[in-house]
């Protein structure tokens, strides 16, 4: 695959061209001044200087509310086909990598999920390498990195004046071909500069001890640390909702006067209702068991089932936890 480059001053033009073939989401400032992955409706300028979005882009593949079925007079019907075509520009490499975990749940191993499959097939991802990782980042400890292309169709790397565009999939290659007239071939020095920048960013990421966490967690199931963590956890679900790999969902019916929908919504293992039986029995009755489940699922069960932790080190659960919970502490303490 051929690497391309485009002057950073031409990025708006590049995205305008992409808008001719798809709905484009790119880093823009919202009314509050936060950089969000927003729809480029017209020619608003994109922002290339940002750390990461507060909300992970998983919502593009796993919407917070998704209509599974239309319900009318006791009958259930599938929603019709759509002509959706979406390009996401500026996704961070951690969030792109998270999609590989979602793929394993929804596309591989057992039943194929047609809703996820459709949204996945109609989304093209251009990720943007990180130059300034945050203090809460630990992507390099969970298989990723500031210049990781996994999960993306194109990896973009900001250079001094240009943006290097490295296709990662045939779909990414095709996307770049469609706007070839705007792009130039990247020279070996440009590739070298990209490598140096990525390496410099990697050096800024603090390591966390994750690699042997599955056996350590297996041994620490009855550790007193879960009790302590459970006392702190509010059970608010912020960690799960912001997590790019958390995918657990609820299914409920919304019907009024015989008409409505069956809807799939984000759910969270920190909620007591998540496992509450109709009989009143709850297999995970307190925050202790529920918080342990979240860590165990991500760093042990997922490793055992999917050969990867369901964590990409984006650090959102650390930054935004209202109780200051930090899974890095648990991973360090557990079985140490």
């Amino acid at each position: 695959m051929t690497e391309k480059r485009i002057p950073q001053t031409d990025v708006d033009r590049f995205l305008a061209r992409l808008r001719e073939q798809a709905t484009v989401y790119a880093p823009t400032k919202d009314d509050a001044g936060d950089v969000v992955l927003g729809e480029l409706a017209s020619g608003e300028p994109v922002v290339l200087e940002y750390r990461n979005f507060r909300l992970s882009p998983k919502a593009f593949l796993l919407p917070q509310n998704l209509t599974l079925l239309h319900l009318k007079d006791g009958k259930a019907e599938e929603p019709g086909p759509t002509d959706r075509r979406v390009i996401l520009f500026g996704v961070r490499p951690c969030d792109a990598r998270a999609i590989l975990a979602l793929d394993q749940v929804f596309l591989e191993g057992g039943q194929h999920d047609p809703y996820y499959a459709h949204l996945r097939a109609t989304s093209v991802l251009i990720s943007l390498a990180c130059e300034r990782p945050m203090s809460s980042c630990f992507c390099t400890s969970v298989g990723g990195g500031p210049g990781d292309g996994a999960g993306a169709d194109v990896l973009a790397v900001p250079l001094d004046a240009d943006l290097l565009l490295m296709p990662q999939t045939p779909r990414g290659e095709a996307l770049l071909s469609s706007v070839a007239d705007l792009l130039q071939d990247a020279s070996p020095p440009a590739l070298k500069e990209a490598q140096e920048r990525i390496h410099a960013a990697e050096e800024l990421v603090a390591p966390v001890k994750v690699e042997d966490c599955a056996p350590r967690l297996r041994a620490a199931y009855d550790s007193p640390l879960w009790e302590a963590a459970g006392r702190k956890c509010l059970g608010c679900g912020t960690c799960s909702f912001l997590c790019p790999t958390c995918h657990c969902f609820d299914i409920t019916d919304e019907v009024r006067n015989g008409t409505g929908r069956r809807v799939r919504t984000w759910d969270c293992c920190a909620y007591p209702l998540f496992t509450l039986h109709a009989s009143g029995h709850n297999p995970r009755p307190t925050a202790k068991e529920r918080w342990r489940q979240r860590i165990m699922h991500k760093f042990r069960y997922a490793v055992e089932n999917c050969d990867r932790p369901f964590c990409v080190g984006c650090g959102r659960c650390i930054r935004y936890c209202p109780a200051g919970m930090d899974l890095r502490t648990v991973l360090k303490e557990v079985g140490a």
Binding site: V105, G110, T275, H297
Partner: protein
Amino acid sequence: MARNPYLPYPARIDETTVENESRDIKTFRLALEDPADAAQFQYLPGQFAELSLPGVGEAPFGIASSPTEAGRLLFSVKRTGLFTEELHSIEPGTRIGVRGPMGKPFPWDRMAGKDLLIIGGGFAFTTLRSAIVYILDPANRSRFGSVLAVYGARTPGELMYRTDLAAWQARKDISVHLTVDKADEGWTQHVGVVTAVLENLTPSAQNTLAIVCGPPVMIKFTLLTLAKLGFPDDAIILSLEMRMKCGIGKCGRCNIGSKFVCKDGPVFTREELKALPAEY
């Protein structure tokens, strides 16, 4: 194009039967409306399905019929929560949805050639009914050795499937022991917990698989008794209940350890369960 796994098969409730004196367990006989769907719905005893009431939601239930009972798809449901409350108040003829069959059945390949000890308690007897009907079918009976079943309930009026029980007790190719915690007038069978009956019968563990479904307290003591009788952990087959939504291993709520009860279970051996956290 594979069928959308979230889309229920349209079905109709043809018949409802009250199973117990408390009138809180009903058996629903369903018919899938499209013969093509009915042909798709191939199951084995031990599997479950999601029943779907548009506007109310869905809930998982073990299949109480056997695939050998052509055209009869049965679910026995205890009225316990929002969904079952609604289900219990609907009339025959009502449309309903079914998704499934789901999960792994009892290990029929392993069970072939073995003596079988079937132990059930309360309303968890549903998939055991399915299993017994399946085993006793003329096409299947010779594949298994002796069959001993012990079924307990609080009172005689709480025993489900009384017509089936009477028919089985009249047969020579199965031994069915019924027991109740509290007898009433006219009760001539066992009185006491299932473990007491088991300890009197002392079934041999030799070449035998035990299948146990019941309330947690019954399971707990039955496992102790089975261990005393010499049943190894991999010869004891149990079925788990967990709250479920999708039924296909995606939604995450029936996750226990590295297993999902909906797709890796609900049937597990005691040996398999010992490897999992006791979060069930």
